[in-house]
């Protein structure tokens, strides 16, 4: 089974858009069985309506999609209230984007949201590797303070095409057993292979990042990486996401 642990729906303030039929078509083209779907940042800044759009898509494709709610920690109790509302819509995890909502993921402003995640046993996907806001050790600091919350860092917890973020990302993973990474756009494949080899294949999850990234390239990034053991590759392609995100 192939599970895409990060996709997006909606119309983004930043120019991308994707509908549920387009997402399902992309999954079908590549043989992806299920996907975690999150809202793009909407042009009207209203994350509630964007969460509704994701919930509608999940209701229409219950066997294929699992929805995560997106909240803005700067809204404080409003963000917590939106989490409670999203649960009634059937959404089953949280998505935080420190870059697009402009907050430092290690800052106390995030605490009420994480406390709600802890209370409801919700996994949290953090858009990671963004300079100053969600670099590897900043995500690790969040994971350290909430050890009971499953935290999944996008982009290998490092976005740097010199590889300068790899050491912090691996320190983050080493120090926080509740932290995992996704594969989207990662520099380099041998970083992913090294994490799987040294820390275990269960720490890495395939993600396409559709529609920001090209799902065809992102799936091949995992399928063609020569250094994954066969069992680890299966975990990365689907088993880990099924265990951590789809319950």
């Amino acid at each position: 089974m192939i599970v895409d642990s990060l996709t997006f729906l909606g119309v983004s303030l930043f120019g991308r858009r994707a509908s549920a039929p387009e997402l399902i078509a992309a999954m079908d083209e590549l043989g992806v069985d299920r996907a975690v779907v999150c809202p793009l940042k909407p042009a009207d800044y209203r994350l509630e309506a964007a969460n509704d759009t994701v919930a509608d898509a999940v209701r229409a494709h219950r066997t294929r999609l699992v929805g995560f709610a997106r909240v803005d920690p700067w809204l404080g109790e409003g963000a917590v209230a939106e989490i409670e509302r999203a649960l009634t819509l059937g959404l089953r995890g949280l998505f935080l984007h420190p870059w697009e909502e402009t907050f430092c993921v290690a800052a106390p402003v995030v605490d009420p949201v994480l406390e709600a995640a802890q209370r409801h046993r919700l996994p949290v996907i953090v858009a990671s590797g963004y300079p100053w806001l969600s670099e590897g050790l900043q995500v690790a600091d969040l994971a350290r303070r909430f050890p009971d919350v499953t935290i999944v860092a996008t982009n290998g917890a490092q976005i740097n095409i010199s590889g300068l973020g790899q050491l912090d990302a691996e320190l983050a993973l080493t120090s926080c057993p509740n932290l995992h990474i996704q594969t989207t756009g990662v520099y380099r494949e041998d970083f992913l292979e090294g994490v799987a080899s040294r820390l275990g294949g269960e720490r890495v999850l395939f993600a396409s990042g559709f529609p920001f990234f090209d799902p065809r390239l992102e799936l091949r990034r995992v399928q063609w990486a020569p250094g994954f053991a066969a069992e680890a590759r299966e975990q990365i392609l689907g088993g880990n996401a099924a265990r951590l995100l789809l319950h």
Partner: protein
């Protein structure tokens, strides 16, 4: 089959000749990186790549006084398959220029590689411009690491392109993750800038770059062998270029640049 290997059909005469413009050989124990020439060749074969351009990870004369010899020996071990760029630290003034001259005229190197993250030398600093001009005197290109870090952004390197219009300057990684649009934009303003595709994760941006700049100004590179040459070739193919454009991007442009060096 999850992991395709190239087949005889990949090497047919009618398939474009693929030249990888960005590969590394070096040993950097501090980073745990050991990048062997044989591994470059193995991964080139896997992807159907005829020729690769290799360079070191660290610079000559510091932190490795033997960096040029290391690369030259790698090329000599695989004649006809590997060409070399000289990675040189601009701070070393006359010594740096002398190293570049020796690399091109004695060792047969085909270009200059600069990575300002490792050298803390601004792309438009006088020491750097001097090296770029020395390379250009041999019609040899300068490949910059061009990503998201200070000293490596497209706008910074564009200052060098403006100061050295006679030089061919290649933006390696074509801006990384966040600076790809900026890389295409500065290349539109400076005709002596080319874009190189390695590790940049968006196939659609390769297509956009070819459309805006023309197919002669985009080069395939992998940043292998640690990055997968096979996956990086696939990325160019996912850009769905027309056959002539794909042929130029995958190899024709690089071959033309290699042959121009005097």
């Amino acid at each position: 089959m999850l992991f395709p290997r190239h087949t005889a059909s990949d090497m047919r005469p009618d398939r474009p000749v693929i030249v990888d413009s960005h590969l590394h050989v070096d040993h950097v124990p501090a980073l745990g990186w050991s990048l062997e020439a044989a591994e470059c060749i193995r991964r080139m074969d896997e992807a159907g790549i005829a020729k690769g351009i290799v360079m070191s990870i660290v610079d000559a004369p510091e932190v490795n006084p033997g960096a040029l010899e290391l690369v030259a020996e790698a090329c000599a071990a695989f004649p006809g398959r590997l060409e070399a760029y000289a990675r040189i630290h601009p701070w070393y003034g006359d010594d740096a220029v002398a190293l570049l001259e020796r690399a091109i005229t004695e060792l047969g190197f085909k270009g200059l590689k600069l990575h300002p993250v490792t050298t803390i030398a601004h792309p438009a600093g006088e020491d750097t411009l001097r090296l770029i001009r020395a390379a250009a005197a041999h019609a040899a290109p300068t490949l910059f690491h061009c990503g998201d870090e200070p000293l490596t952004t497209p706008l910074a390197i564009a200052r060098a392109a403006a100061a050295c219009p006679e030089a061919t300057i290649v933006l390696g990684h074509m801006g990384g993750y966040f600076h790809v649009d900026e890389a295409i934009a500065v290349a539109e303003r400076h005709e002596n800038l080319l874009l190189e595709t390695s590790a940049m994760p968006f196939p659609a941006k390769i297509r956009e770059a070819v459309g805006r700049l023309g197919p002669e100004r985009v080069l395939y590179g992998s940043d292998g062998p640690a990055c997968s040459p096979l996956l990086e070739v696939e990325k160019v193919r996912l850009a769905a270029l027309d056959p002539l454009a794909e042929e130029l991007v995958l190899g024709g442009n690089a071959q033309r640049m290699l042959e121009a060096v005097v």
